[in-house]
Subunit: 204 residues, 2 copies
Amino acid sequence: MTKQAEGADERPARGRGRRPADEVRADVFRAVGEVLLTEGIAGLTFERVARLSGVSKTTLYKWWPSKGALALDGYFHAVEQTLAFEDTGDIRADLLHQLRSFVRIMTTTPAGRVVTELVGQSQTDEDLATAFRTLYSSERRRLAGERLARARELGQIRADVDVQVLVDQLWGAVYHRLLIPDEPVTDDFVVALVGNLFDGVART
Amino acid sequence: MTKQAEGADERPARGRGRRPADEVRADVFRAVGEVLLTEGIAGLTFERVARLSGVSKTTLYKWWPSKGALALDGYFHAVEQTLAFEDTGDIRADLLHQLRSFVRIMTTTPAGRVVTELVGQSQTDEDLATAFRTLYSSERRRLAGERLARARELGQIRADVDVQVLVDQLWGAVYHRLLIPDEPVTDDFVVALVGNLFDGVART
């Protein structure tokens, strides 16, 4: 949004020669993540990312055909470390830890709005919906599924449980409150999500 | 969408004199529900509803300030019977029955698309978001909560369980798969939602 940088948005890649693709992508992800986590999707433009990353718009468009794809790929990488699935051997503690990190990002940074707006727009934009699933949600599902499957192998989750259903009953339940905010996303809520599933809600 | 009816959309209320408001509203809900469940929101216009219900556009606008409000109020009433919460005394069976009805409406009629599009648009339209919560989701939440609270009173659900969290882990989990369709909404999924919560997923 800075005026003085206008017209400078096609600045070529820094230095001479071609940088390795991984390095270029890392610079782009850093730039996209920075914008999304501080300003949200309103601040994200190809021009801005080109300026911040020193990667040409031509290259950006070659790898990310749309702003949605750029946002999702960048966002996935920006939150990957924060949303990593720890494995201390205690599945309940690890889930609680991860869900709290997820809730913190979604409720205390512009990321919450970024994600809910992208899910929102995905309902009427098939390309964005595909980008969302391919570049973000299916990967998050896979990572959650891996951690849950390890707990199942150790007998901490029953063998007959489909761990993908747990993804919907944990993270999906949080999404539900974020997308249709009839009830707040509190720490008690997060604790109850894990407790209900692991303890069962029926009288014992 | 019928061409011949164009220009006839301001047809006054049938018969003479003023009909009772409840009767007028019922006619409107019937018209809105009919359109939404057969064609989805694309077919819904104030003109069309005025024609089908015999209620003037002036009256419609007085009671429902936007198409979103009209759609949500009409949809709520259209599905109210189908989505009623039975009470046979068996909470697991009743939940399964209700969830199956909900999933059937969402996956086999245009209603699924209506609801996901309204949730989608609600992410960037504050008025629609308010209408969605006021006219639809908070009422559905209240009805679900009442049935679950009765089960809790009977000791079928533990006294320390916040039944509103169960709403997110049952219907919210379904919404998650409808809004971000990485995984399908199958009958096995519905059965697992109830089973995971009532049996608990930890090894016993």
